[in-house]
């Protein structure tokens, strides 16, 4: 029989002190610095796991604007003003309208708007009117992290989970796991559970077990 573990919810901090300025965020940070000085509108895109949402939270703080996701964005355009809006690719029809009107208004009056999405504006499939307008924005990408950043990312993800990963163990993991943030995050979550079940810190054999997908069957 194998001991099951309590699954404590994980808190994600979006505070500015916890923000890690990955190399891959270079152009996004440059855009932010520019917007903080001269205002205007911007569009930041990149796949899941790159820290885009954290960046947008930090940007909202720096620009002094509210941060919205499709779930928190008011549907009534009159209640909307200058803002940072994440995941615009996932806006529903009503909110696409709202953002459309907001966009037009801010364009006219000269306001600040920063949008985040998983894909470049060219690949958006929103209201054609909105999409075509978003394509005119200054766009920067937060790409998938490269080599050095990935190692930092692993350390950061472990830190966020209060997990200790010895350098040798981390190195082992990074040379064997698929080098994508989402995969690394998944591996870490499984390692977290496995080490909690065994009441032991994370070891290289554990990493091997998780990567082989064999952790469920063996009980040591």
């Amino acid at each position: 029989m194998q001991q099951l573990v309590l699954s404590f919810p994980r808190k994600t901090s979006f505070e500015v002190e916890d923000y890690m300025p990955f190399t891959s965020h270079g152009s996004a940070l440059a855009l932010l610095a520019q917007m903080a000085q001269t205002g205007g509108m911007g569009y930041v895109y990149g796949p899941e796991g790159t820290g885009k949402s954290h960046f947008l939270h930090v940007a909202a703080g720096r620009l002094g604007l509210p941060y919205y996701t499709p779930a928190t964005l008011p549907a009534d355009p009159t209640r909307l003003s200058e803002a940072v809006i994440d995941d615009v690719h996932a806006l529903d029809a009503v909110r696409q309208q709202a953002v459309f009107h907001l966009f037009n208004r801010l364009k006219e009056e000269g306001g600040v708007l920063l949008l985040g999405a998983a894909v470049p504006a060219a690949s958006l499939t929103l209201l054609p009117d909105l999409t075509s307008r978003l394509r005119t924005l200054t766009q920067v990408e937060i790409p998938l992290p490269e080599e050095a950043d990935l190692n930092i990312l692993l350390a950061k993800l472990a830190y966020d989970r209060q997990l200790l990963i010895e350098p040798a163990v981390g190195k082992y993991l990074m040379t064997r796991a698929e080098r994508s943030p989402v995969v690394i995050e998944g591996v870490l979550d499984r390692l977290d559970t496995l080490s909690l079940a065994r009441k032991k810190g994370i070891t290289i054999p554990m990493v091997r077990q998780v990567l082989d997908g064999a952790e469920a069957t063996s009980c040591a």
Partner: protein, 367 residues
């Protein structure tokens, strides 16, 4: 520095302080106890840099002063001197030696400069309130056993003390089980920062609380201090974030099972003799008014025992670590143990009908 003190008083005092000294400390001064004589009091302090214990005792002080000597040696000397003898101590003029005499025995101990002794006992302004020693000990005992011993998860290596509404709560978990004890919020505690008290501190504190009528707590977000009439225990708190434990407490578990506590403890104890040596797994086969506890091991041996229970829902099999069931059962006082279950893979809530302020969550083993 020159003072005299009765052996029994000093022994009691040192027994508190010296117990925090690490046997093998890499920093020499941490093996020492700090002795300060003034105003007809002897103050002894020992620390491991995480916890400091300071005891104050009446003494006859002829010359005020301060020094440090090896804690275990001094303790052994005092312990082995006869009851009731008067012990005199004097620091040499150059401060390098402390002579200790009692009866006909004389000792000369090497000293280290007290200036190098870390000051752990100063605590910045925090929240101060009082609890009875007995209550504090009881609350800690109910929570503490569930704390993790895996030193790679510091944030679980202690008891989380915090304020929840109008309650003072003590929570500990190792991810397999969780214990939560609470008590109406004492006066003055409302603004207390949430802290994780390290396991070692909790251990020392339980000893201390046992002897003290009242304990005054000073809590800051970095350190916590417990003060009784004789002893001040100061400890760093664990630098980490305790998990959002409320989310794993299964308040909604509908299936209630009442078991006689003694029968349960005895049955689990017997059956687990033949359980898997390492995992200690036992299986609970639950049916209306009937519980069967069974176990088997890789040597093809098995054990089985039936118990009458109060339960009127569907049949269910749940596996548990026998040790965890016993530990929880032993912390209860009532006739029965109340189980609130959902299924074989979900957390189980356990309560003591005699103490509904305390709850335990136990994670099953996958059968």
């Amino acid at each position: 520095m020159k003072f005299s003190i009765t052996r029994d008083v000093l022994l009691k005092n040192l027994s508190h302080t010296q117990s925090v000294v690490e046997k093998r400390s890499s920093i020499a001064i941490l093996s020492n106890v700090r002795l300060e004589a003034k105003d007809n009091k002897l103050v002894t302090t020992a620390t491991d840099n995480d916890i400091a214990v300071q005891g104050t005792a009446d003494a006859f002080v002829e010359g005020a002063g301060v020094t440090t000597v090896n804690a275990h040696k001094l303790y052994e000397i005092v312990r082995k001197l006869p009851d009731g003898v008067m012990i005199s101590a004097e620091l040499s003029a150059d401060g390098s030696r402390l002579s200790v005499s009692g009866g006909k025995a004389k000792f000369s101990l090497a000293c280290l400069d007290a200036n190098a002794f870390p000051d752990m006992t100063t605590v910045e302004d925090g929240v101060t309130f009082e609890l009875s020693g007995d209550l504090l000990r009881r609350l800690l005992t109910k929570a503490q056993f569930a704390a993790s011993v895996d030193d790679t998860r510091q944030y679980l290596n202690g008891v989380y003390m915090h304020v929840q509404g109008d309650k003072l709560r003590f929570v500990a978990t190792d991810g397999h089980r969780l214990a939560r004890a609470e008590y109406p919020l004492p006066e003055g505690a409302a603004d207390m920062p949430s802290v994780i008290i390290p396991r070692k501190t909790v251990g020392e504190l339980r000893k201390l609380a046992e002897e003290a009528k009242n304990v005054t707590l000073h809590v800051t977000d970095k350190k916590i201090q417990f003060e009784t009439s004789e002893v001040v225990l100061t400890s760093k708190v664990i630098d980490g974030t305790f998990p959002d434990y409320e989310r794993v407490i299964p308040y909604d578990n509908k299936l209630e099972m009442d078991v006689s506590r003694q029968s349960l403890l005895q049955a689990v104890d017997r059956v687990s003799i033949l359980s898997h040596e390492k995992s200690k797994s036992v299986k609970f086969s639950i049916a209306p008014n009937h519980l069967t506890i069974s176990a088997n091991n890789p040597d093809q041996e098995n054990a089985i025992e039936d118990l009458a229970i109060s339960y009127d829902a569907q049949n269910m099999d749940v596996g548990f670590n026998a040790k965890y069931v016993s530990e929880i059962g032993q912390l209860m006082d009532g006739e029965d143990v109340k189980f609130y279950l959902k299924d074989g893979n979900s957390p189980v809530l356990l309560k003591d009908p005699n103490d509904m302020d305390t709850l335990f969550v136990l994670m099953p083993m996958r059968i």
